[in-house]
Symmetry: C2
Subunit: 316 residues, 2 copies
């Protein structure tokens, strides 16, 4: 699926339909690339357009109105790329803007929170669920709200982990320093006796191995990026929007599968179709984005484009 291996000769004969349109994925910055990674793994035939709002990151400290305005601008931009569906791959934006954007758009729009919450609810045996995330997500109590809609009896324990994002961005995902910090962060959650832990920030799946070790085998990790890709796959299939789905291709595992399954699972590329195309856009510092993207994606990201996101309409 590398850029150099594109079989361009096959493209002229492919009839373009809605199902060939790309999936639009966006985040306040680079964390949403973990969702892109899961989509690449689970739906290697799908085209993707990613936008990272690197000029205005982080969203966590911004008001709901501001975040909705930003999301509308980004959706306006993605629609110029004729996307067939939109994934809000950012916890803060999902919490504040998903309902609004979904109501305004005539294509499917999904966020990362509901898929993660649903899987956590299916996973827990004792009803004690931990959530680790940025301070903004923890303070918003959004996972608690969503979980309590269907399971008011659950006890949800949140813990803000502000150092995880910079540690991941410094590449210290397997460092003893990060492990030591993780042990301090999760100590309270361990005392509370949780049996399920939601990785409530899109950067955190990159710490999965380390968090598995720190939490021990009794605690199951839920990766909303993985669950979101599963939900998306199901949705595209139901609406006839999946690109080149082939008879006999195995479905993704059910929603109760855990984050642990995600890294080893790479579905075979679709046959008969030209390879998927990936496009990356940011609002600032394209080079830095590209470096990080190349460190985590199974794909050689080249030519990330910087755009002026404020030039796109924020109206409905």
């Amino acid at each position: 699926m590398r850029a150099g291996s594109r079989q361009d000769e096959g493209r002229g004969g492919t009839r373009l339909t809605d199902s060939h349109a790309p999936i639009g994925v966006f985040d306040s910055g680079i964390g949403g690339l973990t969702v892109v990674r899961e989509i690449m793994r689970q739906m290697p035939q799908e085209n993707i357009v990613y936008f990272g709002d690197t000029a205005r990151v982080p969203y966590g400290s911004k008001s709901r109105d501001t975040i909705i305005r930003y999301c509308r601008q980004i959706v306006s931009f993605l629609r110029t790329k004729r996307v067939k569906a939109i994934v809000i791959a950012c916890n803060t934006a999902s919490a504040h803007a998903l309902d609004v954007i979904e109501a305004e758009q005539d294509i499917p729009v999904i966020g990362v929170i509901r898929a993660g919450a649903k899987t956590a609810a299916e996973t827990t045996a004792n009803g004690r669920i931990g959530v680790i995330a940025t301070r903004g997500t923890i303070d918003s109590r959004v996972y608690e709200q969503v979980l309590h809609e269907s399971h008011p009896e659950f006890q949800i324990f949140g813990k803000a982990c502000p150092l995880f994002v910079p540690l991941v961005e410094e590449g210290l995902t397997h460092d003893f320093i990060t492990e030591e910090i993780a042990r301090r962060y999760v100590r309270d959650l361990q005392y509370k006796g949780i049996d399920t832990l939601i990785l409530g920030c899109t950067h955190y799946p990159l710490l999965r191995t380390l968090l598995c070790k720190v939490m021990g085998e009794e605690v199951r990790l839920v990766n909303p990026a993985y669950e979101t890709a599963i939900e998306l796959k199901q949705l595209l299939k139901e609406q006839g929007l999946a690109r080149g789905s082939l008879a006999g291709e195995s479905d993704a595992p059910s929603g109760t599968d855990l984050a642990a399954a995600s890294t080893d699972r790479i579905l075979p590329s679709s046959r008969l179709l030209p390879p998927a195309e990936y496009r990356f856009y940011v609002s600032d510092l394209a080079a830095q984005f590209q470096e990080f993207a190349n460190s985590i994606l199974p794909y050689d990201v080249a030519g990330t484009e910087q755009i002026d996101i404020e030039a796109y309409g924020a109206g409905r």
Copy 2:
């Protein structure tokens, strides 16, 4: 100088002149409080109005035009508080907006970069100077530019330390984790044989003790927050704007004094004047700001006010 000890009875009889007007200090967030701390120490008689742009932090990844627009809004706000001088207590904002703001205002405006660079130039013996800062400041090479204006022969070595700000904000200023990270960050600078290190981010003075230990005695640390307060004091004196300067009060030490001197030096409060008044404003999350402010200031910060900074004009 605590809020509870205000001698309000003395205020009615005090004639308000320009010199009694407050000093306006602003930063993209909370880091600028280290500059406020130095002003409180060196000029305990001065009133201060602080603004932290906590809703739009960090500035490091934003364009020059955006930063100038933000600074103009903040200056408009500070002028409503009738400030007599403005300190841009943010490296990024100083780098991009100082010249513009200075040209537009009829009161003194100073930034943190020139004072730090001047002291570093006076301090170095071998002409090899290190700068540690956020990635934005390092990439801008602003300290290098300013130092090369007067000393083109100097060799400047920059190192971005993205983990320091979140480590400070997590309160880990004396933790072995921070020390280990610091050792890794400064290793290259040590190989380069620097004899002077500029703490090029307003958070870093809070790591001074730890950095002294890591760098060893041969390397002298320059704290621009401390040097900026000295420059401000001199400027106010020259322009007759110092509040209640008393005959016989000792002057601040010369610009060649080092950061090491700053924590132990608390000047005597002025006599005959009511105590200084401090006011704090932020654009978001006032409570969190207050917690951090109380942890570093020799003053009990209460009643931080959240304002809508975008309501203030960005014009000249």
